[in-house]
């Protein structure tokens, strides 16, 4: 009996040793990256080797690289959301997801690889600005990056909490990033045209949805027939310049029908916020972003567009007091 017990305990010891060594050598098994992190968490963790603080301020938030140079989170690298290549023109359609090769190059040059934990820092000044962060988050996720977070409240929240800041340049040390493209996050136009069961979610303000306003690059006013309107700003609290609480987000999202969702807007910017809330924050399965959005959809006059725009709206625009 002792001989049996001895061999048994030796096997158990061996198994335990293998398990411990495996756990130590697989950092990915550590707690997964939260989609939103607080300034306090970032302040405590920014010195970790794998944390890459990615400041994405651009002309969209009125800041851009100048604001970064004046003040940024210590150790943060800058990548201009609008100009660095996070969105590219493909087949004549602007602001699309870059090709896998382009993403790998952009991400690597920004000092990010698969082991990094990327913390995206927007300016933190508006719902639209948050959309920039959501779009970068989505881009990294679509490229297969395992650990991405957004700083809740952006740089404005960091400064309001009086955490230390740096100024000047902080050039990234390029790395090699090999992404594994995750096609389950993206909806292409053919899928939208063929769509039969996914809810089309229009993230634009009501005036765009109804056809009283349109993006300059769109050729027609209105929305994709069958779409539901959910302004991405609904998820954002302008008083605190942060996303609303998870309960509030869930309450807003509960009004949507169950099943797959395809989020779109004009160019996939506002829609990224809707995608982020539904997919990353609320864990809803099968949520995709249609990055071509209305600019691509309206490029061909044969694709149907629904709107409640009237000829009075056209006259108002012609006379100069409408859009």
């Amino acid at each position: 009996m002792f001989r049996f017990a001895a061999s048994y305990s030796r096997r158990a010891l061996l198994a335990a040793a293998v398990a411990i060594v495996s756990m130590v050598s697989m950092p990915a098994l550590a707690a997964p990256a939260e989609p939103l992190v607080t300034p306090q968490w970032l302040n405590e963790n920014r010195s970790k080797d794998d944390v890459v603080v990615l400041d994405i301020r651009s002309a969209i938030d009125g800041g851009g690289v100048e604001a970064y140079l004046k003040a940024h989170i210590p150790g943060a690298v800058h990548s201009d959301y609008d100009k660095a290549g996070w969105r590219v023109t493909r087949n004549g359609v602007p602001f699309m997801l870059p090709t896998p090769a382009e993403i790998e190059k952009l991400v690597g040059e920004t000092g990010i690889d698969e082991d990094s934990h990327v913390v995206i820092v927007p300016a933190g000044v508006s719902a639209t600005d948050f959309g920039s962060a959501a779009r970068v988050y989505w881009t990294l996720k679509a490229a297969g990056h395992p650990a991405v977070s957004i700083l809740d409240g952006g740089f404005a929240a960091w400064q309001a909490a009086s955490y230390p800041v740096e100024f000047g340049k902080n050039p990234p040390s390029p790395k090699i990033f090999s992404g594994k493209i995750d096609n389950s996050l993206l909806a292409e136009i053919e899928a939208v045209e063929r769509n039969s069961n996914a809810t089309l979610l229009d993230a634009r303000p009501a005036s765009f949805f109804e056809g009283r306003q349109k993006a300059p690059a769109s050729k027609t006013y209105g929305h994709i027939p069958g779409a539901i309107s959910l302004d991405s700003a609904a998820f954002y609290d302008p008083a605190t310049n942060k996303l609303r609480s998870k309960d509030e987000l869930a309450a807003i999202a509960s009004k949507l029908p169950a099943g797959p969702v395809v989020a779109y807007c004009n160019t996939g910017h506002w829609a990224a916020t809707n995608w982020f809330v539904l997919s990353a924050m609320l864990g809803r399965p099968d949520v995709r972003l249609y990055d071509g959005s209305m600019v691509e959809w309206t490029a061909d006059a044969r694709r149907p567009v629904a709107s409640s725009r009237t000829r009075w709206d056209d006259v108002k625009k012609a006379l100069g007091f409408g859009s």
Partner: protein, 52 residues
């Protein structure tokens, strides 16, 4: 008669304007594509298609 005429005219023009301005945007004047396959400009079907 002049007064009645003026009133009817104003009403008529107002009705035309109201109808036009409340109509959905981006239409086009009717063209024969609308009547394709029809037997008269109003779109009436042909007797040959009605023989069942």
């Amino acid at each position: 008669m002049r007064l009645v005429y003026a009133l009817v005219f104003l009403l008529g023009v107002t009705a035309v304007l109201a109808d036009h301005l409340t109509s959905p945007s981006s239409g086009r004047p009717m063209s024969p594509e609308d009547f394709a396959g029809a037997c008269a400009p109003c779109g009436a079907p042909c007797p040959s298609t009605q023989k069942k």
